[in-house]
């Protein structure tokens, strides 16, 4: 049923689970780099790339972590070479690599240029050195600035920064300064995430022991409002809950998640969505490497997404985008109208002032953006 051109809507995500240090909030699949079988991992990664490349080409590539730039130059090159070999083609729309300021060296920038990387995502988080320390980052604000300047000098125009808010001890003033600093760098894209305390993180343990003062809902809401206002004033419009871009610089790869499209997930603990099936790879390195050795891929568990779930996901992912969902696209995709399934919910949410409807589109209102989970929840039917 899937035609050739539909295959081209897929993306590929490649996970580098190594870090030189562990940030206090991070709950991604990651390991201290030291004494890890990095070479064997890269080898397995290449085999898994070969496996998925065989299932059709991708239009976006995203290398995330962990810390991809934690690899040494030789390892980094090997990894890029594999990616290039299996997924690079003239039709690639976007090729993003995540980088940490302290390990974004000139050598790595050069390698990325060489292998066709088009976009850099730099984990800045804050331009407040005190806060950077609080959340366990290894770099200073000045390093972040310099790394982005250098990237630009090397010809990387399409750079995005990750920032965080609602951090312990963060003031509105500090956030203001961070936003100003970020805007000064004049990148065409900024992502802003609020701190979430997740189990198995250092912050989680501190919170349990009562040693972490969290911002609280009111401060979080104030900061979120401040962020949206400031960034939009400077021409970075909000196109998704956490993402801001100059027109034309929206992240293609991430947009694919929100548009409920498919992607290969490659690497330890990576998530993928292929042929209607969502899967997750083995997280522990040994298990991952072993299973790729055995069968060429490392799917640990998978779930065939039912039609019902697809429909729900279409809504709660699609509504994260400010442009919302297109009723026409929905109809084409599911052969059923949005109204026939969700009329009641949409009307209710409109009454609550959380959704608006404009011709073909259903989207979050300003208020809905702040209360997105209340909206998304309504589209779960079970």
């Amino acid at each position: 049923m899937i035609k050739g051109d539909e295959l081209m809507t897929r993306g590929v995500y490649i996970h580098i689970p190594f870090c030189d240090h562990i940030c206090y909030y991070c709950d991604f699949n990651k390991f201290f780099m030291k004494n890890q079988p990095v070479e064997a991992y890269l080898h397995a990664l290449e085999r898994e790339m070969a496996y998925y490349a065989g299932r059709g080409p991708a239009k976006t590539i995203y290398i995330g972590g962990g810390t991809p730039t934690a690899l040494n130059d030789r390892q980094f090159e090997k990894m890029l070479r594999s990616v290039h070999r299996y997924f690079m083609h003239p039709g690639i729309e976007e090729f993003t690599v995540e980088a940490n300021p302290e390990s974004l060296t000139d050598e790595k920038l050069l390698l990325m240029k060489e292998f066709g990387v088009t976009r850099l995502s730099v984990g800045v988080q804050s331009f407040d050195d005190r806060l950077l320390k609080t959340i366990g980052r290894a770099h200073k604000a000045s390093e972040a600035r310099q790394s982005i300047e250098r990237a630009r000098q090397m010809g990387f125009e399409n750079v995005t920064l990750d920032l965080m808010f609602a951090l312990p001890g963060q003031t509105e003033q500090s956030l203001h300064e961070t936003l100003e600093a970020a805007l000064d760098l004049n990148t065409p894209h900024i992502s802003v995430y609020s701190l979430q305390i997740e189990p198995k993180t250092i912050f989680f343990n501190r919170m349990k022991n009562g040693k972490l003062r969290l911002a609280g809902e009111d401060i979080e809401a104030d900061m979120y409002g401040q962020i949206i206002f400031t960034l939009e004033k400077h021409g970075l419009y909000q196109y998704e809950i956490s993402n801001f871009a100059k027109p034309g610089f929206e992240g293609r790869h991430n947009s694919l998640y929100w548009q409920n499209e498919e992607y290969y997930g490659i690497g330890a603990g990576a998530h993928g969505y292929v042929d209607g099936k969502r899967y997750v790879n083995a997280g522990p390195l040994k298990k991952y490497i072993q299973s790729v050795c055995d069968k060429g891929f490392s799917e640990k568990s998978s779930h065939k997404v039912t039609r019902q779930e697809q429909i729900e996901e279409e809504m709660f992912l699609g509504l994260r985008l400010m442009k919302g969902i297109s009723k026409k696209r929905f109809q084409e995709k599911f052969n059923q109208s949005v109204d026939s399934i969700y009329r009641k919910q949409i009307d209710q949410l409109k009454t609550e002032g959380l959704l608006h409807e404009d011709g073909d589109r259903v989207a979050l209102t300003k208020k809905g953006v702040f209360l997105g989970n209340n909206v998304f929840e309504a589209f779960l039917c079970s």
């Binding site: 992502s191 809950i241 956490s242 969502r278 997750v280 779930e309 709660f316 209360l371 997105g372």
Partner: protein
């Protein structure tokens, strides 16, 4: 046959164990089971007699258990022990008195570090009233802070028992077990009673088994009962034919007969536990005894609360579940009631708060019904202006003030045993809880009994916690009912978003109404999650609002986190959120979580 019975009877020893919670009763029971090889090591689980999961988890005994053990003594004789386990908590003192009535002796277990506690004292007095031989055991002597000499002296000073022979034991590591068994044989008398007299068996517990009907636990006082015998219940005259008799060892073992001194069970195709009232006497239908055994008083519930299914569709399930629990829990009472806020449910009566807690937990756990429990209430007696007297167990049913002549509330006589250092803070606490000082007794150079009359409703609130915290956990509490007294009580209503929520109404003393109201609205503000609109919370007496606070409107609830491609996690989060709302009750337009309904109750007044 008769000789054999008499010889057997002389080798029977019936006893129970009296101990304060945590003093090691169940562990000691385990050691005795082991020593008598009732169970192989493999079959032993910790605290074998506590059969319910809940009992094991909480480390308390709720239901009675009786086991028969064969003990081969060093003198070559084999003795038959019946160990009757008893609950230690004050809520279940009724059950304690039942088990004591089936015994000739009791092991008194006292913690070698903590000494005698008020609750232990109460049960020892019960045992003494029943003429039981008491064997003191000082347990946990292996603990570093054990002080057996002090505790011995305490047993002598406080209880008045001769403690010179007290066994020094550590049930945990198995010290003293043999000595205990020896003392059981030597000190506890064999049961008296005539095996050839007409049957008289005391029912001390019964439970319903779906295959066998009611299983009746009995102690044979006179006579013998055999399979096929026709028996009669002396209170209601109903007769049944005995299907099986037996004992628990603790494995179920059927026997041909039970005779004098035996503690075991019988089944007789009895359909309802209501026919086998605990405390009743079973006799032979063909040769009935002339007088029943002295029974025990049925305990009336002390505490009432409303139980409502969160999912209103599960009302019938809840009724069925309560019916099933009632089969095994003679003290539980319930009747249907309706709340404007919560819909259809039941007003249930309990012996105390622990009992209430346990029933609630069993309903949620064993029957999988999510419940909302309203704040527990005592029974108030209200004299109306027309001279009639009504009983009110549900605050929302309190008549309007203009019709009320007088409200009376139940009082208890509370005995608080405390190290001398804390007498001051205990008196302060009791005064604050509207207590009336009765007496103070110096037990020894270290400890004092402080006796107060207190309103039961105050004990129900945070009294116990407050007591523990103001005495570093050293004080212990026992209380008994002490009748009704008139008090200046008013009904306080709670309004959410302008609407009165009947399930949140409470009865408070007028003098404390303002503080309680303030505390309640603040607590509710904490517990009720933000809604999309601002929700005022008010506490009112009649039309007069005495306290208010406001839940701010929800401002941010959106996951702004980098989740990569992990969609299933986003889904789970949303599902969890949705599930959480299902566990809330929508009152008016406000989603109220379960805990909020208990908040009016489970809150320190010192907050």
């Amino acid at each position: 046959m008769s000789d054999k019975r008499t010889s057997r009877q002389s080798r029977i020893r019936n006893f129970s164990i009296i101990a304060h919670i945590d003093h090691g009763k169940s562990t000691l029971a385990d050691r005795i089971l082991e020593a008598t090889q009732a169970l192989t090591k493999r079959e032993m689980k910790d605290q074998t007699l506590d059969a319910m999961d809940l009992e094991r988890e909480r480390g308390i005994t709720i239901k009675l258990n009786a086991v028969e053990l064969a003990y081969k003594a060093p003198d070559g004789e084999t003795y038959i022990f019946h160990l009757i386990d008893t609950p230690g908590h004050v809520d279940f003192s009724y059950e304690v008195s039942r088990s004591l009535a089936a015994c000739e002796g009791a092991l008194l277990v006292v913690d070698a570090a903590q000494g005698v506690e008020a609750q232990t004292l109460a049960n020892v007095y019960l045992a003494l009233e029943n003429n039981l031989e008491i064997i003191p055991i000082i347990n946990k002597i292996d603990l570093p802070n054990a002080d057996p000499d002090r505790v011995k002296k305490e047993i002598e000073d406080v209880i008045g028992l001769d403690a010179s022979d007290a066994v020094l034991a550590s049930a945990k590591v198995g010290i003293g077990t043999e000595e205990i068994l020896q003392q059981i044989i030597k000190k506890i008398p064999a049961p008296q009673g005539d095996p050839d007299a007409p049957l008289r068996a005391l029912i001390f517990d019964s439970l319903y088994d779906s295959y066998r009907g009611v299983v009746v636990y009995i102690r044979i006082v006179d006579g013998t009962v055999r399979v096929g015998d026709r028996i009669q219940l002396m209170s209601n005259g109903k007769t049944f034919e005995v299907v099986e008799v037996g004992v628990s060892t603790p494995k179920i073992e059927t026997r041909e007969e039970l005779s004098v001194g035996d503690v075991g069970f019988l089944t007789a195709a009895i359909k309802s536990v209501h026919d086998t009232r605990v405390g009743d006497t079973i006799t032979g239908a063909d040769r009935p005894a002339s007088d029943p055994l002295p029974g025990y008083r049925r305990m009336n519930p002390m505490v009432y609360c409303g139980l409502y299914p969160i999912d209103t569709a599960r009302y019938n399930d809840l009724r069925e579940a309560l019916g099933r629990l009632e089969l095994n829990d003679a003290a539980l009472q319930y009747e249907p009631e309706t709340s404007e806020a919560l819909g259809f449910g039941f007003r249930c009566g309990f012996l105390g708060l622990l009992h209430m807690d346990i029933v609630q937990e069993r309903l949620e756990r064993e029957f999988n019904i999510d419940l909302i429990a309203t704040a527990p209430s005592v029974i108030y007696k209200v004299r109306l202006t027309d001279g009639s007297l009504v009983q009110v167990g549900n605050p929302s049913e309190m008549p309007e003030r203009k019709f009320i002549e007088e409200v009376q509330e139940p009082f208890v006589k509370a005995t608080i045993m405390t190290p001398n250092d804390y007498v001051g803070s205990i008196m302060e606490l009791c005064q604050r809880k509207r207590g009336e000082f009765i007496n103070m007794v110096y037990l020894d150079e270290n400890r004092t009994n402080v006796i107060y009359d207190l309103p039961l409703s105050e004990i129900m609130y945070d009294f116990f916690d407050a007591l523990k915290s103001s005495t570093k956990g050293y004080a212990s509490l026992d209380y008994e009912m002490d009748g009704y007294r008139a008090s200046d009580l008013v009904k306080m209503d709670i309004l959410l978003n302008g609407e009165q929520v009947d399930a949140l109404s409470v009865i408070v003393h007028k003098e404390f109404a303002y503080d309680r109201g303030k505390a309640i609205v603040e607590k509710l503000k904490e517990l009720i999650p933000r809604q999309q609109f601002e929700v005022p919370i008010q506490a009112a007496i009649g039309q007069k609002v005495i306290a208010r606070s406001t839940i701010k409107a929800l401002r941010k609830n959106v996951l702004a986190k980098c989740y990569g491609g992990d969609v299933s996690r986003k889904r789970k989060l949303l599902e969890k959120q949705k599930e959480g709302k299902k566990r809330m009750k929508s009152v008016g337009r406000v989603d109220v979580p379960q805990e909020a309904f208990m908040a009016v109750f489970k809150m320190s007044q010192d907050d």
